[in-house]
Structure formats: structure tokens, C-alpha cells
């Protein structure tokens, strides 16, 4: 168990810079998720933490110790790979125990450790098999077993669930969370799946184009995204964006757009200039209301019940807005519909910089 500090880490291949000065601090026992679309640099960052890639600059400390000059084997880390990377020529038991074997742990101790890990992951009955004879979920467990048996300072996960089918993925996600809670070891976890990020992470780093867009706990990332990229990348359906105008009024400000008028409290309304902004609101924050309470007015376009809830696509002005409403929604296409919105849940963005505006 250890803290992880990434300080101004950069990476370039020739003249192409793929990471621009990344800074991250992870507390002891924390769970850091690196989230972003492919090509954002998250896997490169993970490989550099592991020592599989060299850094072009900056420093990485695990448990306060700089590791940039250490070989992967000397960093006391364990890693779970996307393709599991099980050694096809070895039995499951030997796969799990390989790291101990490399470190010269004697056979008896190794056996005990492997069995403990297997029990924890419920794969004791598979120990004699070859990886080729395992199902996807089983391989995943073996890969994790190989990581935990070593009791490292830091776990690294590289998109470990992306090769599993949807049902298994949910199952394994829970499993990983349970493991983390039991072992308490710090974890760095790379994924492009925002649900994994939300469910697993104590800290989420959203990355794009080699920059960290936002580094915060999952709730903050979801509710107070730093910019429009983060806002749209996280959440499904995505956050609704409506361009409009910010107007000052007594006791606060008001957002005005075609079919939309929302009053918002502001700490210092006097300092806010009247300007065009983009309003962002999560679909679940749109609550169906009576006409006289309405702050958003639109016409129903599509109604999609999913079972636990219903998605309604509404035409607001010249924009499409999605609302997540209770399951037994009775509205019809072309009916006019009214919503209220909790002003506290609303985010405003600068149309030019796409950054969040605090009011």
C-alpha cells in the first residue's frame, strides 16, 4: 500500500507529444481511474507508471520513492491486462505464482499464496488447467489472482473488463470493488467506460489529447464537470446543452433561451456580466411539472420507455433535449410538455472556451 505521485510527467515520440505535463496525487488506498477516449494518453500514462514505457520528463513516485529509473520488476507493482496476458504454456497455478517464482519465493510458500488468492477469487478448482481451457470470466479472475498474490504496493488495471460480455462485466466490476475494499491496496485503473469510472474510482482523471481535463472524485466529475468535454463524456444519455443568454435580475441571474427561462442564485450577481452562455443539464434533472411552474417548455418528439425509467426527447426551441422521467409517463408525441429544473444542478459553460463558469 502506498501513495502515488505523478509530477509533470511528459511523453513524446519523436516530435509528437502525447502527454503534456500530467500531475496526479493518489492517496494511500485510493482508487484512481484514468478515463478517456482512445488515444487520450491514459494507457501511455499507465505504462509509464508500470515502467513499460520510459518517461520523457517529470517524476513518478510510488510510496514516496521515485521509480522512473527502476525496471518494472523493481517497482513492486502488479498489473492486469486487457487481454489478461496469461502465459499460455503454463498452468493456472503457475501463472498466478509466476511473480513469486521470479522473486525467488520457495515452492511451499508459493503454493500457499496461490491457493489463498485462488480461494479469494473462487478459482481453486481451475488451478491445474491451461489458460486456453478457461472462459473469459475465468481468465479475468486468474489475471487478477496473479496480481493480488504478490501483495504489491500498487495495482494497475488496463481496461480489464473490455473483453467481457455485458453481464460478466457488471459482475467483475463488483468483484474488483469488493477486492479493493478488502485489500485496501492503491489502484490505478484505465478505462474508457464512464460507468466503471463512476462505480469504482475514489478519484477520476478524465483525459483527452494528452491533457488531464479534470481530476476529482466521481461525484464532482459528474455534477460539476470542468468543461463541456467532461460533461458530455460522462453520463448516458449525455448532458443536454442549450445555448442562451445570461441576464441579470434582482437577487440573481436568469438564463434565457427559446423555451427556457431559469432563475439561478448567484453569490455575487453584480460581478456577472450579461453574456451568451451554454447551459448544461443532466436528463434526470428535468422534472415534469405544471405549465405555471415551468422553466423549460417543449414539444414531445420521441418517447422511449426502458423499464425502470422513460426517455423523452423533447424539442425545445430549435434544440433537442432528453429528459429522464419516471417509468409510467403518459405523454404523446407532439404534445407540449413542461419541466422544472433545480437551478443548483445546472452548469454553465463559456461558448468560446467551453470551460465551466462559476456563478
Amino acid at each position: 500500500m502506498a501513495t502515488l505521485s505523478i509530477k509533470d510527467v511528459r511523453k513524446s515520440y519523436g516530435s509528437v507529444q502525447v502527454l503534456h505535463g500530467v500531475d496526479i496525487e493518489l492517496e494511500d488506498g485510493g482508487f484512481l481511474v484514468l478515463l478517456g477516449p482512445s488515444g487520450c494518453g491514459k494507457s501511455t500514462l499507465l505504462n509509464m507508471i508500470a515502467g513499460l514505457d520510459d518517461t520523457s520528463g517529470g517524476d513518478i513516485l510510488i510510496g514516496g520513492r521515485s521509480v522512473v529509473d527502476l525496471a518494472p520488476k523493481d517497482r513492486n507493482i502488479a498489473m492486469v491486462f486487457q487481454s489478461y496476458a496469461l502465459y499460455p504454456t503454463m498452468s493456472v497455478a503457475r501463472n498466478i505464482g509466476f511473480g513469486l517464482e521470479m522473486r525467488g519465493v520457495d515452492a511451499d510458500k508459493r503454493k500457499g499464496a496461490v491457493e489463498d488468492a485462488a480461494r479469494l477469487l473462487q478459482i481453486s478448482h481451475l488451478l491445474d488447467r491451461r489458460p486456453a481451457n478457461l472462459s473469459g470470466g475465468q481468465r479475468q479472475r486468474v489475471a487478477m489472482g496473479r496480481a493480488i498474490v504478490r501483495d504489491p504496493e500498487l495495482f494497475l488495471f488496463d481496461e480489464p473488463l473490455s473483453n467481457l460480455d455485458a453481464k460478466l462485466r457488471v459482475e467483475m466490476r463488483t468483484e474488483i470493488k469488493r477486492l479493493h475494499e478488502r485489500l485496501g491496496t492503491s489502484i490505478v485503473y484505465v478505462t474508457h467506460d464512464q460507468i466503471e469510472a463512476m462505480t469504482l474510482g475514489t478519484k477520476v482523471a478524465v483525459m483527452k489529447g494528452g491533457y488531464i481535463q479534470q481530476l476529482a472524485d466521481p461525484r464532482t466529475v459528474y455534477e460539476r464537470p470542468a468543461n463541456m468535454f467532461v460533461a458530455s463524456f460522462i453520463g448516458s444519455p449525455a448532458m443536454n446543452f442549450l445555448p442562451g443568454q445570461l441576464v441579470r435580475e434582482a437577487g440573481g441571474v436568469r438564463f434565457e433561451a427559446s423555451g427556457v427561462s431559469i432563475a439561478m442564485p448567484a453569490r455575487k450577481p453584480a460581478e456577472i456580466s450579461e453574456r451568451p452562455v451554454i447551459l448544461g443539464m443532466r436528463p434526470e434533472e428535468l422534472k415534469v411539472a405544471a405549465r405555471d411552474q415551468a422553466s423549460v417548455t417543449g414539444v414531445i418528439d420521441v418517447v422511449e420507455p426502458t423499464g425502470p425509467e422513460t426517455m423523452v426527447t423533447v424539442q425545445v426551441g430549435d434544440r433537442s433535449v432528453i429528459a429522464r422521467v419516471p417509468p409510467r409517463f403518459a405523454g404523446q408525441r407532439n404534445e407540449t410538455i413542461f419541466f422544472t429544473v433545480d437551478p443548483a444542478s445546472i452548469n454553465l459553460f463559456d461558448p468560446d472556451t467551453e470551460q465551466r463558469i462559476d456563478i
Binding site: P72, K73, A78, L86, R150
Partner: protein, 281 residues
Amino acid sequence: MIESKRHRRMIANIATYVVLVSLSVFCIGPMVWMFLTSLKYEADIVTQTMQYMPSRITFDNYVAIWTQSGFPLLIGNSLVVTLLTVTICVVTGTLAAYAFSRFAFRGRDRLMLGYLVVRMFPAVMVIIPLYVVMRGVGLVDSRFGLALAYTSFLLPLFVWMLKGFFDSAPRELENAARIDGSTRLGAMVRIVVPLARNGLVASSVFIAIAAWNEFLFALMLTTGQGSRTWPVGLQLMVGEFQLPWGVLAAGGILSIIPVIVLFAIVQRTMVQGLTAGAVKG
């Protein structure tokens, strides 16, 4: 519809067999003839009336080639040279192929092309200077020297082939091993090489065959019986005053046998190796 599909499939199968059978005849026919020839008396070969099946059979030709040509010695030399060539290629070539496969460095493509380029300079002209170099280090007329010379044109081939096999061995496995406590070298030896084993065998067989069959270098770089290889020995026996056809044919048949034995042993591995796509696991 189903009927016609089955019909079409059958036609395709028949066509496949026709192709395979005729190609086999094309390939094997000459060797069968060589075998029949090796069983005939010379008078039944050099004759005006063609004899298809030998009317009388003799094994004298085999006895003759075995006893008169120093055949066991020549074949032994060929084996040693082939083995040495494969060993040198495997040791140095595996390292190079691994480097080409795993490291992106400036000029990699150019260097790989360079490996190919060295194959291009005509053997005829390389031989004389090579002879000088070998002579300088006392390797003329030695099996090791000959193997070294073979390496010059077989190593590039080996590196090129093996790189492909390394490319298809997943990099993640190696990364996993490094994190598990192996060095790069350890990961290569323990994980990557075993994974590319079939490919290694296939590439080795290719160069072994080439070394086994080589003629020009062997002719020019060896003098004594001590290091002369089989193809040279055979050509030498043919010489100006010709070896009888039957004996020549017997020699030909004998020279395929070791290769067939080798191939029988490694065939499965080799085919698997050649067909190995990504190794999943």
C-alpha cells in the same frame, strides 16, 4: 438451392483433388523415376528400349555410392554444417529479430532493408574475398567456416521470418512477465521465445534446408574430404568421367532421406508455426 450448393461443393472438392493429385504427380514423379533408376542395372538404363519397371533389381548402386564416395563422411559433414548454421542463426538471429519486432528506433526499417541488401551481392564475387578472410582466421576448409559463410545469406532470411512470428506474440505477455519480476531478457527467454517456438522451428527448417542444399560456397570454400559437403561430393563424383546413372540416382535418393526424416519430426510444429496467427490465451 440447397441441392445446387451441395452440387457445387462437390465439384469444388473434385477439382481440389484433381489439382492435388496432378501436382503430387508432378512433384513426386521425377523422384519415383529416380528411385526406379537407382534399382536398375546400368545396362538397363543406358539402353535403347525404355524400361519402366526394372526387369531385374539390384542394390549394387546403393552399395557403390555408400562405399566408394565416402558417403557417410560427406553426409556427416553436411549435417554438421547445417546444424552449425542453424545454431548460429538461432542464437544471433533470434536476438536481432526480437529487437526489430519489439523496439521502434530510428532507422529500423532501413536497417532491416540493410539486412536484406547483404543478401544481394552475388555469391560468385563474395566467395573470393570471403576465402581471403576465412583463410586469415584459419577457417578455410573447416565446417565452422562454411557454416559462418552460410550465415551471411541465411541470417537475413531468418531474421525476417522470425520477426513476423515475434510480431504475432502478444506484447502484453511480455509486459506481464516484466511486471511479475522478469527482466526484459528473462521475459524474452521465458515467454516470447517459447511462444514463437513453432515459428522458430519453421524458420530454422527453412535455413536448414537451404544450408543442406547449398553448393557454390561449399564448392569453393572446402578442399579436403574433411569438410566437403554432400552436394559437392556428388557433383564431384559426376565430374568429367560420369558417375553411372544408377549410382547417381541412388545418391540422390539417399540424400533426401535425412531431410524427410527431419521433416517428419518437425512437420506438425512447422505447420503450426507457419499458420500461427496471434497466440491467444
